[in-house]
């Protein structure tokens, strides 16, 4: 083994990814690729009604169909299927209704499972599922959140349509609004979105005696294993969950699904390995949806634009049931509405509402995009009201660089940041002054194609999460992460991580970290993850946590290896450990660097174990679990220039500049990729996507033909740059980047559109800003202006 030069640090290098070798050659192991001897296939029968009582389920014809092993209704499983879990009961009196994986007597959204068929292949299973005869008594759907809360509304559950109300307040809000020179009141709607990871969900479950192995397309193999044990009563130590290659998640695979629970129960019942793979159209109704909030906002400011107070009242659509972390999603936004700004008072109030729609839960950003959209839109509205440049207004209110660490009105302490630097860099790259000039020229020329400049000076809370804070917020688990290092006798290194990547590039980035920490070549490190038998401890991947929390666990595990290696090296060299210093992968004698032992030589000595010091075990492996003290707070300034054709309503993004500060960057190529993809998903919310229901509660965007995911032709190239203020909270100085682009870009784009249209009197365009909606907003403003 060769030691690497310390000046050639791996962290910071744009290493191409280790993962790619299998992904670009078709050797990937997706769950749907897995086949086993005797494997049988499951097809689910789903409710075509948004709300109905199940009068009868006749399985006779399905059971007699060719190739069919079994068919069951919810009633057949009533005694053993349990209830799908919620891990985040945010208040003491939250209503969490029973949620059977297969509906027993009532269906509450279109797509809810009412029966299942198991057959020898997927075609036979689908054929037989069509023979299942379900008689429904249709009930009235409940689709609108405000109507759902009104007295006399049809009830989704017997307890009513309210799940919980959660409130936070700090400062004297009444005083802030009393005699405030400016008060802005707005209502914004965060439309419902479908996360749409490219890999549809799939699950394979194999029973051997009373033990079960489940392969599933999940972000959370560890959490899932615990939850499957709790839901089904199958002992945790008899369950192994494997997340093989997973084709994207964006929160949609942060879930304990009905299909996973039923696959396990079917495997137990039939004593055979079972498999289910969803179709996209099935997934669009059955995978949890995201966003869907109604935001009522009031902002009070002084005449110079200084914010006095912010009042936020939310309705959050839970859909038909409470999913794994759904009640907590708005809470992740609760601490972010104040964003990077100082203010005297803040109140947040959120009510979770039941409707007869697909249940919602975390989708990329989870709470923070909603909060960021609201405050960044409000800041632009306030600037317009005062006739101040919106960047200037933000500067008057934001936390100045020299004020860090700063405790915000929502009681979070931001450790570091430099909003001035990110904004200055973004303005320059964007050509801000020139574009403002062009904008004014188009207005004075009466051009039909207007130019708008959208601003988003965002921050977010990442690195979920300090366990004590999660506990205080009534989350059922901790927020730590685990890592272990296995030093192989030949000096190669295996890193076992509890993070569970599904596109993020952990195998590459974690290798870079370990290469630096142990002074071994990047190529000598292998990362193991996503299998509860291989990586037994973990809290998995979501909330931009893997690098901040999981990366720190890896650093700490490496530190333990070095510490023990020092004792063994001292014995090998017959010196005191105190005489040794660490130098690029070696413990060497201080003042005599030729006298030293590389980590590989020490690993072999530990393996041979012939002559270890007294009391030293023959192993150089280590294990570390890290629980963060605080969140991390990436931030940035995103600027969007949009051309809006006022005659057609067509929006064209002309340029987009993103300056992100994510702390220290481990791999700039991966970070840029995360930012690009994040921006694209945020633009998709701003311009294209919406999960829409008709008045009967049918999802009318149930396929990719109707739900508009932007293609390459619909998006521009983005200009990315970075400022770096290292996090002071972890040894790597990292802050997380998985969600930044999505959080930042939605308000940047919508602000640009509204900015272009303010001369017409437009102050908002509801998302997604389709040509029709943009055109209507102009017409409505014109007719109001004329009235």
């Amino acid at each position: 083994m060769t030691a690497v030069d310390a000046t050639q640090a791996e962290v910071g290098k744009a290493r191409t990814r280790k993962e790619d070798a299998r992904l670009i050659t078709g050797q990937t192991n997706w769950t749907d690729n897995i086949t086993l001897p005797g494997l049988v296939h499951v097809a689910f029968v789903r409710s075509p009604y948004a709300h109905a009582r199940i009068a009868s389920v006749d399985l006779t014809a399905a059971r007699e169909a060719p190739g069919v092993f079994a068919a069951y209704s919810g009633a057949d499983f009533a005694a053993e299927q349990g209830s799908l879990p919620c891990a985040w009961p945010v208040t003491e009196d939250i209503v969490i209704p029973d949620h059977p994986p297969m509906a027993v007597d009532t269906v509450r959204y279109g797509g809810e499972i009412v029966a299942c068929v198991v057959a020898r292949d997927r075609y036979a299973a689908v054929d037989a599922a069509e023979l299942v005869d379900v008689t429904y008594e249709a009930l009235e759907p409940v689709l609108d959140m405000e109507a759902a809360l009104a007295p006399g509304s049809v009830k989704v559950h017997t307890a009513g349509n309210k799940s919980y109300t959660w409130e936070f307040a700090n400062g004297d809000l009444d005083a802030a609004f009393r005699d405030a020179p400016v008060v802005i009141e707005r209502t914004y709607r965060q439309q419902r979105l479908i996360p749409s990871a490219m890999e549809p969900r799939a699950v394979v479950c194999a029973p051997v005696a009373d033990e079960y192995t489940m392969w599933t397309s999940t972000q959370i193999p560890h959490v899932l294993r615990v939850m499957l044990a709790l839901v089904t009563g199958i002992p945790e130590h008899k369950l192994r969950v494997i997340a093989p290659d997973v084709g994207g998640g964006f929160g949609s695979k942060l879930q304990v699904t009905a299909e996973e629970v039923l696959a396990l129960l079917l495997a137990r019942k039939l004593g055979r390995p079972v498999k289910w793979t969803e179709t996209r159209s099935e997934g669009n109704v059955a995978v949890h949806h995201g966003r869907d909030q109604l935001q009522k906002l009031r902002l009070a400011a002084d005449a110079d634009g200084r914010i006095r107070g912010l009042d936020v009242e939310l309705l959050a659509n839970m859909g038909a049931y409470i999913m794994l972390v759904a009640p907590g999603v708005p809470l992740l936004g609760a601490f972010m509405f104040n964003a990077i700004y100082k203010m005297d008072a803040y109140r947040f109030n959120c009510t979770g509402v039941f409707t007869t729609t697909t249940p919602t839960d975390a989708y990329r950003g989870a709470g923070r995009p909603e909060a960021t959209y609201a405050i960044e839109h409000l800041m632009d509205d306030l600037a317009a009201e005062l006739g101040v440049d919106p960047l200037e207004l933000r500067e008057r209110n934001w936390i100045r660089h020299e004020e860090f660490p700063y405790t915000t009105i929502s009681n979070l302490t931001y450790d570091s940041g430099n909003y001035e630097a990110a904004t200055a860099a973004a303005k320059e790259l964007f050509g801000y002054e020139g574009l403002r000039k062009e904008q004014a020229e188009r207005v004075s020329a009466g051009s039909p194609v207007r130019l708008g400049i959208g601003i988003s000076t965002f921050t977010e809370m990442c690195g979920l999460a300090p366990s004590r804070i999660l506990g205080a917020l009534r989350y059922a688990a901790g927020g730590w992460e685990n890592a272990s290092i296995r030093m192989l006798p030949t000096g190669k290194v295996e890193v076992v991580t509890g993070s569970s990547a599904h596109g993020q590039g952990h195998e590459t980035a974690w290798s870079q970290i370990v290469a630096d920490q142990l002074g071994v070549p990047f190529e000598d490190v292998r990362v193991l993850h996503g299998d509860t038998a291989v990586a037994p401890k973990g809290m998995d991947t979501y909330g931009s946590r893997s690098l901040v929390v999981g990366g720190t666990a890896i650093v700490n595990a490496c530190e333990k290896v070095r510490r023990k290696a020092r004792v063994i090296a001292a014995a090998m060299l017959e010196v005191s450990p105190d005489d040794l210093e660490w130098d690029a992968g070696r413990w060497a004698v201080r003042g005599d660097p030729d006298q030293g032992k590389s980590i590989g030589e020490i690993a072999f000595t530990a393996f041979a174990a012939h002559d270890l010091p007294e009391g030293i075990e023959p192993s150089l492996d280590s294990d570390a679990t890290y629980d963060p003290d605080n969140f991390s707070f990436p931030h940035g300034t995103h600027l969007c220039a949009a051309e809006v054709d006022t005659e057609t309503g067509q929006v064209r993004i002309r340029s987009y500049v993103a300056v992100d500060d994510v702390g220290v960057v481990v791999n700039p190529m991966i970070v840029d990729g995360q930012v690009h993809g994040g921006i694209a998903q945020g633009i998709a919310q701003a311009l294209y996507e919406e999960a829409a229901y008709d008045s009967s509660g049918n999802l009318v965007t149930a396929s990719l033909a109707d739900y508009l995911i932007p293609s390459a032709a619909d998006l521009p190239s983005f200009t990315t740059a970075r400022t770096t203020t290292p996090s002071t909270l972890n040894p790597l100085g990292v802050k997380g980047v998985g969600e930044a682009g999505t959080i930042a870009s939605t308000p940047a784009v919508v602000n640009a559109i509204v900015d272009a249209l303010r001369p017409f009197g437009v102050s908002d365009v509801p998302m997604p800003c389709t040509p029709e909606r943009v055109w209507r907003a102009i017409q409505e403003a014109r007719s109001e202006g004329a009235a």
């Binding site: 994207g248 990729g673 396929s703 390459a712 203020t725």
Partner: protein
């Protein structure tokens, strides 16, 4: 029905149901699982393969329609000794994939695109790949990768990444 086709250079003779989709035939009977399925409405393009040299979405072709044809999947794209196709290499160099689920289809569609138009502009690449959806990358690096492959593997000048700014 009896069908016969060449898949990645190997001949397969099989009996299939007339309704069997080509992608299911490839994945489940021929064992070529490198080609994934992303949707059921032929919108996403994840299942794109070459049929007689032209890209097709293998979810919208019946196996029997490919009878007598020659199929190239992502697994047959690299050279005999394993050297990567220029597009595979470019996707790797430009970080044109994250989760990688759309990648096989994206690369096969790009093979056809460059066959039609060996020197496309950025806009032509974007329009040419309109039938293939990616949820991870925002397409920027995919476009760069296709341009790079068209350019003999040399990276194009970057105007999209600014130098790091010191805060």
């Amino acid at each position: 029905m009896r069908i016969s086709m060449k898949i990645d250079g190997v001949r397969y003779d099989d009996d299939v149901e007339p309704r069997l989709l080509l992608v299911h035939y490839l994945r489940e009977q021929a064992g070529r699982t490198g080609t994934p399925i992303g949707c059921d409405t032929s919108n996403c393009g994840a299942c794109t393969v070459l049929l007689n040299g032209r890209s097709v979405k293998s979810c919208s072709v019946l196996a029997v329609q490919a009878d007598g044809g020659e199929i190239t999947t992502i697994q047959g794209l690299a050279g005999d000794s394993g050297e990567l196709h220029p597009l595979q290499q470019a996707f790797h160099e430009e970080h044109a994939l994250q989760c990688g689920y759309c990648t096989p289809g994206m690369i096969m569609a790009a093979v056809d695109l460059l066959g039609e138009n060996p020197n496309p502009t950025e806009e032509e690449v974007r329009d040419g790949l309109e039938g293939n959806l990616c949820r991870c990358t925002g397409y920027q690096n995919i476009v760069r990768a296709v341009l790079r492959a068209a350019n003999g593997g040399a990276p194009a000048a970057r105007s999209d990444v600014a130098a790091e700014v010191t805060a």
